[in-house]
Amino acid sequence: MDKKTLIDMAYLARLIVEEADVSNYCTQLSQILHFIEQMQPINTDHVEPLAHPLPTIYTSLIALRTDQITEFNQREQLQRCAPSIQDGFYVVPPVIE
């Protein structure tokens, strides 16, 4: 992984990578990526990707939610852990559309 890619990824993930850490991150991530490359030679042409570990015989029964209101106003309680609120709103620096 090169520096540019690292910086692009950091931006997508909204992380700052300090200049001093760039080469360390690049080396480590490249090592991991290299390690992951082991998968590539394996033929997976007709293999269905597995997103959920439970076999379908156990998941076919999984229920959807009935359309009912079960949550009521808990704003005060839920905003107790908020770093910045005003008049019931969460507050962020100005957003430009």
Binding site: L15, L29, M39, Q40, P49, L54, Y58, L61
Partner: protein
């Protein structure tokens, strides 16, 4: 009192040999005393636990109790709890108290268990040594220059040091079993979907599973009984009957087919022979089985887990909860600084990895490929269970390593999960059991079962513990 298991405490409390209050006073004293050297608790629930203990004593007096009333437990600091902070061992959540209770902790609370505190862990459960905790590493009670394993290291150390008879843990790639093995205790990772994930801060959603860490298998059965079952709040929790786990502990193992996966025994430095011979004596037949794609589990895992983690951790943005940077200049600054200040190095590394493998142009080569490999690995297990009833293998390639030994080399650290990861990828249950010592450090094995076959694993583990004393050993400095 601290040497008792849950089942023993149950009897003593019911017999009123001692009060709950005295039990908790004793445990909390020990926790305060030893936490300075072990650092296994992030939060000690002193006052609240004593209040609850008094209430439990009243309940005993009135005869209004359940099986778990007044029994102590510690919770990994990844479970949301309303009356204690939930930090995930991260600066990001250092001041966070959840406005709701996780299903696991709520179920135990409802059944009368009393929480002694929240245990240390790797930050957001990402790590195998507990060294990535924002609150400093936790130490292994058998040798405090060594790691307790991770990510549920605090829970393992607390149970091993007899500061609590039991603790909850979570296992994404071995996070219950590896520290259980390093600390010489019993650890159960149930089938994916057996226990609700509601209220458990997510690391990698398709791999995370809550479980228990105890001193013996009977206690693990007791606790699994209390937390297992479908939860309408978790769409991935299975609708599948929960058997009575304690009822089948004493069943005979005669004729049970035990499989030894070949790739788990190649160049193995840990001696599992003594345990295997006990199973033979108990009447199990031993068979060699193949898991041809096992070696690919580490690379597949280190694509899938970081990918899911990169997305799961996006919600930590400094807006609704958690760390927020001072005086953000604009929105991007708010996001970037809050997240960069709040997350530690390993978490950032995994977020960056996951972001990369999911990004345009790489999705097929990495994420999709890893999910296909995951299918192959699961199929290997499904095939193996056609000819055997359960599997036995090591939990770890070595005994507990030294603090700092692998911290600078993530890849070597990742490889310490080589025997546990495949089980998470496949979604299967596994039970870690102490099986001896090497250079005075505990070693562990794991029994791996078919989907929802926890009862057989507990049965087999209990039978092993009836014949052996490995699980009864305790670290001398904490007696």
């Amino acid at each position: 009192m601290h040497q008792f298991t849950l089942s023993e405490l149950q009897q003593h409390l019911h017999a009123r040999d001692f009060s709950c209050r005295s039990l908790f006073e004793h445990l909390l004293t020990r926790i305060t005393q030893y936490n300075t050297s072990l650092n296994c608790f992030i939060h000690i629930n002193s006052d609240h636990a004593l209040q609850q203990a008094e209430l439990a004593d009243k309940a005993f007096h009135q005869g209004n109790v359940t099986a778990l009333t007044g029994l102590p437990i510690a919770h990994k600091d990844i479970f949301c709890t309303q009356h204690m902070p939930t930090t995930c061992a991260s600066k990001m959540l250092a001041n966070f108290t959840a406005p709701y209770e996780s299903t696991v902790t709520a179920k135990l609370l409802d059944q009368g268990m009393i929480c002694v505190g929240k245990t240390n862990m790797d930050e957001f459960a990402m790590g195998s040594s507990n060294e990535s905790s924002f609150f400093g590493p936790c130490k292994n009670p058998w040798d405090i220059s060594r790691v307790p394993g991770g990510s549920s290291g605090g829970s393992a150390a607390a149970v091993a040091a007899q500061l609590t008879p039991a603790a909850t843990g979570t296992d994404t790639g071995g996070s219950i079993r590896q520290p259980a093995a390093f600390c010489g205790i019993t650890g159960l990772k149930p089938t994916y979907g057996r226990v609700s994930r509601w209220g458990m801060v997510a690391f990698a959603s398709s791999l995370d599973q809550a479980g228990v860490m105890t001193r013996d298998v009977a206690d693990a059965a007791l606790l699994l009984q209390a937390i297992a079952g479908h939860d309408a709040k978790d769409a991935t929790s299975a609708i599948h009957p929960v058997p009575n786990y304690s009822a089948t502990l004493m069943q005979s193992l005669a004729g049970k087919r035990l499989g030894l996966p070949k790739p788990m025994f190649e160049n193995l430095q840990i001696d599992l022979e003594p345990a295997i011979s006990v199973f033979k004596q108990l009447g199990a037949t031993v068979h060699s089985v193949d898991l041809p794609h096992l070696a690919l589990s580490v690379p597949a895992y280190y694509v899938i887990a970081p990918a899911e983690c990169s997305s799961n951790l996006s919600r930590f943005d400094g807006v609704r909860f958690g760390h927020r940077c001072k005086d953000p200049a604009d929105l991007q600054d708010l996001y970037q600084r809050s997240r960069s200040e709040g997350f530690g190095a390993e978490v950032k590394r995994r977020i960056l990895m996951g972001t990369y493998t999911l990004s345009t142009g790489y999705y097929d080569a990495y994420y999709k490929k890893a999910q296909q490999i995951r299918r192959l690995i699961q199929q290997d297990f499904i095939d193996a269970f056609k000819s055997v009833d359960f599997l036995l293998g090591p939990c770890t390639p070595t005994t507990a390593f030294k603090l700092g030994e692998k911290q600078l080399d993530p890849l070597t650290m990742y490889l310490s999960d080589i025997y546990t990861i495949a089980i998470n990828l496949a979604g299967l249950p596994a039970l870690a059991l102490p099986c001896g010592f090497q250079q005075d450090l505990p070693i562990g094995l794991q029994l791996i079962g078919n989907f929802f076959d926890e009862a057989l694993l507990l049965n087999a583990g209990h039978q092993l513990q009836q014949q052996t004393h490995w699980h009864k050993a305790t670290p001398a400095s904490f007696n």
